[in-house]
Amino acid sequence: MNKGGTGGGGGGPTAAAALAAAQKQKTLQQKVDNDIGNIVDNFSFIVNVARVNDPPVRNSQEAFMMEMRASRMVQAADSLLKLVSELKQTAIFSGFATLNDHVEQRTEELNQLADKTDGMLARIGEDAAASLTELESHYYSSVRTSQIDTM
């Protein structure tokens, strides 16, 4: 797999990074061209050998060739697929702007959540205190009176 211009090179100076990126783009494009050319060539060959030849020997020879070409096509397609996955990875890992946006958005959300939770906890505490007061007053006005009566 292509390793030219190892993607993330953010550490270097900008010019070098740009150069590396351009290099990488070039190699990727080259790869795409190669693979697609490969597929087209092989396919046209396969189409071309559709003609039935007179000497049967050649036919079987062509059959072998066809198989070979077909496997080359599949190989090229696989390589394209790998390229696509590499592009995906680059998109995922090098889209720093989106990443930062995400992080900020997430931070914002989480901060809000934390604030909300804090507020909720405070409210729960107040509610509990209020309930405690109420319960205490109920307790002393109900059970205790009966205790007094029995005493």
Partner: protein
């Protein structure tokens, strides 16, 4: 076999019975040698099917040449007849050619000068062409199949990658996903999730990165994310009290886990096909669990660091690997440890685990309810706070004061968060221990207060949440009944408002502070001028004295109330510390004395009526206790009864004075 019509059934190439004789003997066909069979075959060709039929040793091995087929076909009646003849002709020609070749091979003298292919007939040409075309078509079909198959494979791969990257993107929104190119195998890229947030920490603190801070992500069979947890199980912080019987349960199971975190990290996806959503959620849950484990490890690390700094309130009494035992000042010992979660258990029976968790909760709940049942003997109630909340408190303390502070410092140049008491960042463990000690101590006080309140019926206990971990506060209030006289003259003198409630505040921070109104203060007592009443009294006391002081306070408040009531009625009454005395005629005084006894199981404040003839000094009151003539035990009176007693006394006094 009359030669007209005949059907020959092909025999299988295995040995068959030819016939069975009457005596049961089986007859197999004779073995035929190669030569003989060849001869037979040639015979067959040469002499046609009629001869062939009579051949006794027809044999049948499937792998034989086309001639066998011929013979088989030949037996069939019509459609193949011409073909059979053609083939026979071809065979003849072939035999001639073979003979010729053999002759040429044996005899060097003969050389082949030239060979021409016989001119093909048009139909032969066509059939050749047809065969070639058919072959080619077959080839293309084969190719098509191959393409289809590989297309399917590639599609699957695409789908897998789409799933994987989709899930990865979703994880990336919450976690730091990094790419790792392995040098050994180029192209084989790995992903890992970095859970260690190094931007948070003080560089001086030099946190050591946890071994779990990188979690590898891989494809599983279905193309989904598979998270590769390090074999070392996820550990979590545990906290418990050592002197508690129920801690065997506490050691076994630590925390009430969220339901989602009880998932098998590796095999869950394989067990049942679940949607991407669920899978990603699962991974989230696992990562959160790991994250929390890392946090726990860091907290434990910090606790260890602080434990060995000489600091206030922390005494280490035991230490083991991942285990720390501390002694609190209230005679309690706690342990803080890192315990591994056993993944095997969780995989095997996560449901059971949940059951056991809930069982633990239930048992704690029952413990609590048992404790409630035992309110008759509140001393048995445990003074230790809830273990889980202590654990949360420990984590929260460190989170609030180390992690959040560090984060704030990095983001906004350090703005101190106020609200809680300012805590020295270097002594968080000390703060925690002191908070725990305070909690235990305040529980003991609460127990005392509860005990006291349960025995003095007219005293109410009101709790005041302070929202401070090292301060607690309660109020004991005595609601006195409204006086009849006051009620009648309330409309007239609305400005003079009688007191209907007396409060005593108990505040605990480092020591117990009792703050009450309406009691004579001690200085006033020594001066002998009991009338001088300090409106608010403040005491510092310890736990042993607390009930006594409180009871005195309450009793004096009641005395004060009775005094005020007596004055309102218009009777001259003197108030002493816990005694209300009325002057009768001839210098006699009748005293209503409160007797305070914290150990009294029935009611802590009892009342005596004491007759004083005026000669005995107040100091000799004790010696007169034995004298039953001069004093009468009234018992534990409720406020209403006390009030009516007072009115009786008033009528007695006024009656006496009228006399």
């Amino acid at each position: 076999m009359d030669g007209n019509m005949e059907i020959s059934v092909d025999k299988l190439p295995i040995k068959r019975l030819e016939s069975i004789e009457e005596n049961g003997a089986e007859r197999f066909p004779n073995e035929v040698g190669y030569e003989e069979r060849r001869l037979n075959l040639i015979h067959r060709i040469d002499f046609g099917w009629a001869v062939d039929r009579e051949d006794s040793a027809k044999k049948h091995k499937k792998d034989t040449s086309a001639t066998t087929t011929t013979s088989k076909d030949a037996t069939k009646p019509w459609p193949w007849k011409s073909l059979v003849e053609n083939l026979q002709a071809a065979h003849q020609e072939l035999s001639v050619i073979i003979d010729l070749i053999n002759t040429v091979e044996v005899n060097d003298a003969v050389t082949v000068a030239g060979m021409t292919r016989p001119k093909q007939l048009p139909n032969e040409l066509l059939s050749d062409l047809a065969v070639s075309t058919a072959t080619k078509l077959q080839c293309y079909r084969h190719l098509g199949k191959y393409f289809k198959q590989s297309a399917k494979g590639l599609e699957q791969q695409i789908a897998r990658e789409a799933r994987f990257y989709g899930a990865l993107i979703r994880l990336q929104q919450n976690w730091k996903v990094k790419r790792h190119r392995m040098a050994a195998t180029p192209g084989n890229e790995g992903f890992y999730i970095d859970l260690f947030d190094n931007s948070l920490y003080d560089p001086a603190a030099s946190f050591r990165p946890s071994t779990m801070s990188t979690v590898w992500v891989e494809h599983d069979a279905a193309g989904m994310l598979a998270i590769n947890l390090p074999q070392k199980a996820v550990r979590s912080l545990q906290f418990g009290f050592l002197c508690r019987n129920s801690d065997t349960a506490a050691i076994q199971a630590s925390r009430i886990k969220a339901v989602g975190s009880d998932q098998d990290p590796a095999g869950e996806c394989k067990k049942e096909p679940e949607s991407d959503d669920d899978c990603v959620k699962n991974k989230h849950a696992i990562l959160r669990e790991v994250h929390r484990a890392i946090f726990d490890e860091q907290v434990f690390d910090l606790v260890n660091r602080e434990a060995f700094n000489p600091s206030l309130g922390v005494n280490i009494t035991g230490i083991r690997e991942n285990y720390l035992e501390l002694n609190l000042s209230q005679g309690a010992s706690v342990f803080i440890s890192l315990m591994p979660h056993k993944h095997e258990d969780r995989v095997a029976d996560s449901a059971d685990n949940q059951n056991s968790e809930s069982a633990l909760v239930r048992s704690e709940f029952f413990n609590d309810s048992n404790a409630k049942d035992r309110t008759k003997d509140p001393r048995k109630k445990s003074v230790f706070p809830n273990r889980v909340s202590c654990e949360i408190f420990l984590q929260q303390t460190f989170h609030e004061h180390v992690f959040v502070q560090a984060k704030k410092r990095t983001t906004s140049g350090g703005k101190m968060h106020s609200g809680q008491p300012t805590i020295d960042r270097s002594n968080l463990l000390g703060h925690f221990c002191m908070s725990l000690a305070h909690r235990i101590f305040s529980n003991k006080i609460l127990r005392e207060l509860d005990d006291l309140v349960s025995r003095v019926p007219y005293v109410h206990l009101i709790s005041h949440p302070t929202w401070n971990s090292r301060t607690s506060s309660w109020t004991l209030s005595v609601d006195v009944p409204q006086s009849i006289i006051y009620a009648s003259c309330q409309t007239q003198k609305s400005d003079k408002k009688a007191k209907t409630q007396f409060r005593t505040k108990v505040l605990v921070n480092d020591c117990i502070k009792v703050e009450g109104e309406g009691a004579p203060n001690v200085v006033g007592l020594f001066k002998g001028t009991s009338e001088r009443i300090c409106s608010i009294n403040r005491y510092d006391c310890d736990l042993a004295d607390l009930p006594m002081i409180l009871l005195q306070q309450i009793a004096s408040q009641i005395i004060r109330w009775l005094h005020a009531e007596a004055l309102m009625v218009g009777i001259k009454a003197n108030r002493d510390f816990l005694c209300l005395s009325f002057e009768l005629e001839q210098g006699e005084t009748l005293g209503l004395v409160a007797h305070v006894n914290p150990e009294d199981p029935l009611g802590c404040i009892s009342w005596w009526l004491v007759m004083d003839d005026g000669f005995t000094e107040e100091g000799k009151l004790q010696s007169q206790i034995s004298d039953t003539h001069n004093r009468k035990f009234l018992g534990h009176l409720s406020l209403d009864v006390l009030y009516s007693t007072l009115l009786d006394l008033v009528s007695l006094c006024s009656g006496g004075s009228n006399h």
